[in-house]
Point group: C2
Chain length 337, copies 2
DNA sequence: ATGAAAGCGCTAACAG
DNA sequence: CTGTTAGCGCTTTCAT
């Protein structure tokens, strides 16, 4: 079933059928209706490849996220899907597991498939990787804080300040022995969180022993491993701030294993505000990241970039607000729900 | 940068370059090396569309799953990705949210993009949908129990028996007022679970009041809503079995809200054994589904099907074993970790 | 408003 | 072993 067959049955040329599909306004109403009804009737679908071969528009965007087992990214992805599908675009989802090499491979796949645009979430790509993508005429939007410092259009929150706020709250609860557990990835974001954390403690003249900064894989298991290390210290921390909720869950698991009660023996604050944070016992205090909205704004921004090609120089950056959710786990009194 | 340019520089015809790429064994070693190095050097990538246009092989498989916020499906997806990428295949992930209409749309997209095969997880598609896919020459493997009864190659567990076992355990713990909360989707799987559940209670001559079977969206919120309904009954259940862990999490939330203690006031058994089940307080008893392995086996089966086209008549079905994990939430003594 | 025809970049007969 | 060439199905000038 191809365009030729439709053209034959409709008694018009293939060009006309093609026009009906691509520039319907340039076809006589009567012809158009006729062709359209035939297309419908015969269930004709234009061949994707033939189309892509000479139009180079695929109505597809690529979405690169670090990890599907982190609900935070899934929330973002949902926001993206929502907007993309509303515009008739398909989303190609790639999972990088924080591995730049794998990320490059995925980028290649997406470029091969000629996505019209790409959304990079907390990417580990370097500036020249980004450059190579743009060179191919593919629009890019960054979501979260990425590795390079190429000033592509971005949607993010201020991770550093958010982390500082979390730390300040812990300080205000009276804790002084505060450790931070952070994930290997996403690298840049976590570095910013560390800076914020350190800044807050410095402001309060609280020292951070080197062993209080521990890095593990950004997973539940990583969090548990980090916590175990901290627990074994000669002077273990009284509070822990983690760069993600996933890590915090791991800390909770390790605490339970070792008979520590949260928040009595150990205060805890996470980052992201994934749904399960509220389900834990005690409920996990955390920094609420507007995940879905980051996806939505990012996608809208991407469409803008894709539309005004000449306008690509306008370097847009959207910084959304995060909010500390104070619940049970940090021991400071449950204030926000 | 196209094949012609490479051919020109290499001083060979386009056919030779194409052969180097597709049937390297039919090219003289020297020529091949030379062309290959040029390809490498110039960073040439064959045009995806031109290629797809006449080869109809895309080295891509489609994976259709109901929900990314259910870690159970993500685990499966990881298994799939693992095998597919090992074979050099790309996986296109589609999320159907249990909506058959959306699922059909995704199937269409996947067919447009000429995936070589499709993996349908707990699909809501009917037999003739499946037929239409196969008609297009696309291989299919079903993972989980799907709607139609077309006997496509399948990887699944015996949901009915697993549910019966869970119920039997609850009975053996002495509970008689046992309710079941099940999700709207995946429909067939949940129907089977209900049957198993009913069978077990019948075997023990325990009656199930109609109000003890409650259906909600297969989400945490759905579970909470269902639990609230059950709690309001004049004679509320003493134990609840849910068709998914997600639902069980919701039940736990509702129990906490209403001051019910698990397992003292309410016993609970879930289904899937997602990672968080172990993190809950109390730890959630549940039916362990071999999620990752289902993805792996499904994908391997798909590759088999894709390879022996004539062999498609061999109706293969792999039934994996599930296992009841007895933890704290069902109150029967923590036996398995 | 419509049709004829020239590609898009690649693969696979077919011939040599 | 290699080159020539005819498509794959569609879009898009360029005429008419």
């Amino acid at each position: 079933m191809n365009i030729k067959e439709i053209a034959g049955r409709a008694g018009v040329s293939v060009a006309t059928v093609s026009r009906v599909l691509n520039h319907p306004e340039h076809v006589a109403e009567k012809t158009r209706e006729h062709v359209l009804s035939l297309i419908e009737e015969m269930g004709y679908k234009p061949n994707w490849f033939a189309r892509g071969l000479n139009s180079n528009r695929t109505y597809t965007i690529g979405l690169m996220i670090p990890n599907l087992l982190n609900p935070a990214y899934v929330e973002m992805a949902k926001g993206v899907e929502e907007i993309a599908s509303k515009r008739g675009y398909t989303t190609l989802l790639c999972v990088t597991v924080g591995d730049p090499q794998k990320e490059r491979k995925h980028v290649q796949t997406l470029m091969d498939r000629r996505v019209d645009g790409m959304l990079l979430v907390s990417s580990a790509l370097e500036d020249d990787d980004i450059f190579r993508i743009k060179e191919r005429g593919i629009s890019i939007v960054l979501v979260g804080e990425n590795k390079g410092n190429s000033k592509e259009p971005t949607v993010r929150i201020d991770c550093g300040e958010a982390a500082a706020n979390a730390a300040r709250h812990l300080l205000s609860c009276g804790y002084r022995e505060i450790a931070m557990v952070y994930g290997k990835s996403p690298e840049t974001e976590n570095q910013n969180k560390i800076c914020g954390f350190q800044r807050a403690l410095q402001e309060a003249s609280v020292a951070i022993p080197e062993e209080y900064l521990v890095c593990e894989k950004n997973t539940i298991e990583g969090g548990a491993a980090a916590a175990r290390k901290l627990f074994e210290l000669s002077s273990p921390p009284r509070a822990i701030f983690t760069s993600s909720d996933l890590l915090a869950l791991g800390v909770m698991e390790a605490a339970r294993e070792t008979g520590r009660s949260i928040p009595k023996d150990l205060a805890l604050v996470g980052f992201d505000n994934i749904r399960i944070a509220e389900l834990m016992e005690p409920r996990l205090s955390t920094v609420a990241k507007p995940l879905r909205r980051m996806g939505i704004y990012g996608t809208k921004l991407l469409f803008n970039v894709m539309e005004n090609i000449d306008d690509a120089s306008k370097k847009r950056e959207i910084v959304l607000k995060s909010k500390l959710k104070i619940r049970k786990s940090c021991g400071g009194g449950e204030k926000t729900p």
